[in-house]
């Protein structure tokens, strides 16, 4: 579903060239929940933005369902939820979803049904007519999760979806992701919270300084290294430092 080959992205800070993603390769199969974990500044968000077509790769390529990332065909296949999602302040929750449905050219009647169902699913049915500027952080996250699903995406990309949520919100959110996983959805998600990744993902990759330093099924990684995922994560990163 998602193939990344030899992906490299560099940024220029004054005169320095910083490699944020370094020759990254990975594959996410259909129906798989793939977690990209790493400390802050590891290159997770940059990778996610490259997949969503918001950044351009310096080297390597990304394909989504056979189409190059950033192409309209690839974008049609994905649902994207960025870190700290923000919406147009002048819109209500329902209007945000209607606007995004228009961007996908979804038929009005079908969109209306989907919007109702999605708002219910993320627990915002009572806030449908509330202006987004009055939303709490948790409500923003929920709305973003609904927005990411408006087109029934073949690949759901979630960047730090549980970041900044209170314990209840995190639990709710995890259950929503697990429900999607059960339904066979393909999910690519980035996080620095290991317990969440361990609980949700079929496969994880540990990213550090733009490179993958360990990859595999969480259980297999724990078994082979004889340490918890947290210990493996910390050791892998310390060894790299």
């Amino acid at each position: 579903m998602l193939t990344i080959r030899n992906l490299t992205k560099q940024f220029y800070q004054r005169t320095d060239e910083v490699t944020v993603v370094n020759n990254l390769s990975l594959t996410v199969k259909k129906g798989q929940v793939f977690g990209l974990i790493g400390p802050n500044g590891a290159g997770k968000t940059t990778t996610v933005k490259l997949i969503a077509g918001l950044l351009f790769a310096d080297k390597g390529r990304i394909t989504i369902g056979g189409f190059p990332a950033g192409s309209l065909e690839a974008k049609r296949k994905i649902g994207f939820m960025n870190e700290n999602p923000q919406f147009y302040y002048h819109l209500k929750a329902r209007e945000v979803l209607e606007f995004v449905a228009d961007l996908f050219e979804i038929d009005k009647e079908l969109a209306s049904k989907k919007i109702k169902a999605l708002l219910k699913e993320v627990g915002l049915q009572d806030a449908a007519e509330l202006a987004v500027r009055k939303f709490s952080k948790g409500m923003h996250q929920r709305l973003a999760f609904a927005v990411a699903q408006i087109n029934d995406p073949e690949l759901l990309i979630l960047d730090e979806p549980l970041d900044g949520l209170d314990p209840l919100g995190r639990l709710d959110f995890k259950q929503m992701i697990l429900k999607l996983k059960k339904s066979g959805a393909t999910i690519f998600f980035s996080s620095h919270i290991l317990s969440d990744v361990e609980e949700i993902c079929d496969e994880v990759a540990i990213l550090h300084k733009g490179r993958i330093i360990a990859q595999g099924a969480p259980k297999a990684l724990v078994k082979s290294s004889k340490q918890s995922l947290e210990e493996l994560f910390v050791r892998s990163i310390r060894n790299e430092i």
Binding site: F80, H90, D102
Partner: protein, 255 residues
């Protein structure tokens, strides 16, 4: 290009700008200034219609340009700053559709603001003279076209520079654009090197005086079909050039 998507972005931009309190302040103030032209007209000696026309049409142009400077230059910047651009560009929306949607959205806002100001102007003029020359409608149309063209200028600058710089540059283009004739005259008297530079400026910058039909209103001189056609052609050609340039820059932007 998907027109349904373009329309969705245009409408969203229009609604977004309508929420801007600055817009209401500017339109409100413009309407007050135009209404005040009635007083200015009454103290002039037999020139009341002329004063009202001059005063109102200039006020209309100035306020529409202020809207362009302050709202136009912020359009893309705000999207990036608030990260709402992620919401749109991660969807099946091409960069050109997004860019053009922002442009048409602000054009729609300028049109509505312009029509409100024009309505006030026509009411004031009719109240004073009991007639409205046809030339007044053409002058109003030309002012709106000029504001649209400068919207394309401000959007182009805002795709690679800060809102403040963009507003300053757009203001600079306005000044040069209205001083095209002076630039040409200067070029004819300058040294060969300076002449080349000034002629370059003359041809590169938009000649905004083409949109100045305000003096014709006083003498009720309506432009003929050819003049209207040339103004429209100039507007479409120059605006298309600016939009193509802006899209080319915006396509390479990363967020």
């Amino acid at each position: 290009m998907k027109y349904k998507v373009l329309w969705a972005i245009t409408l969203n931009t229009f609604r977004e700008t309508l929420r801007d309190k600055l817009l209401y302040s500017l339109v409100g103030f413009a309407v007050l200034v135009i209404a005040a032209s009635l007083l200015a007209g009454s103290v002039s000696l037999g020139q009341d219609a002329r004063v009202i026309q001059d005063f109102s049409l200039t006020a209309m142009l100035v306020f529409l340009l202020i809207i362009t400077y302050f709202i136009g230059t912020q359009l893309v910047f705000k999207e990036v700053e608030r990260k709402t651009i992620y919401l749109v560009l991660s969807k099946p929306v091409s960069r050109e559709t997004f860019y053009l949607g922002k442009f048409f959205g602000l054009c729609l806002t300028i049109l509505v603001a312009g029509l409100i100001m024009a309505a006030m102007f026509l009411i004031v003029l009719y109240a004073k003279t009991h007639s409205v020359p046809v030339a007044a409608y053409f002058a109003v149309g030309a002012i709106i076209l000029e504001a649209w063209l400068l919207t394309a200028v401000s959007l182009l600058f805002s795709s690679f520079t800060s809102p403040l710089s963009s507003a300053i540059y757009t203001f600079g283009v306005t000044l040069i654009g209205h001083g095209s004739a002076t630039v040409w005259l200067l070029s004819q008297k300058a040294s060969p090197v300076m002449r080349g530079i000034l002629e370059g400026v003359y041809y590169l910058f938009p000649n905004l005086e083409k949109f100045n039909l305000r003096n014709d209103v006083v003498f009720n001189l309506s432009p003929d079909g050819t003049q209207v056609g040339l103004i429209l052609l100039y507007f479409v050609g120059y605006t298309a050039f600016l939009l193509i340039l802006g899209v080319a820059v915006f396509r390479k932007d990363e967020f």
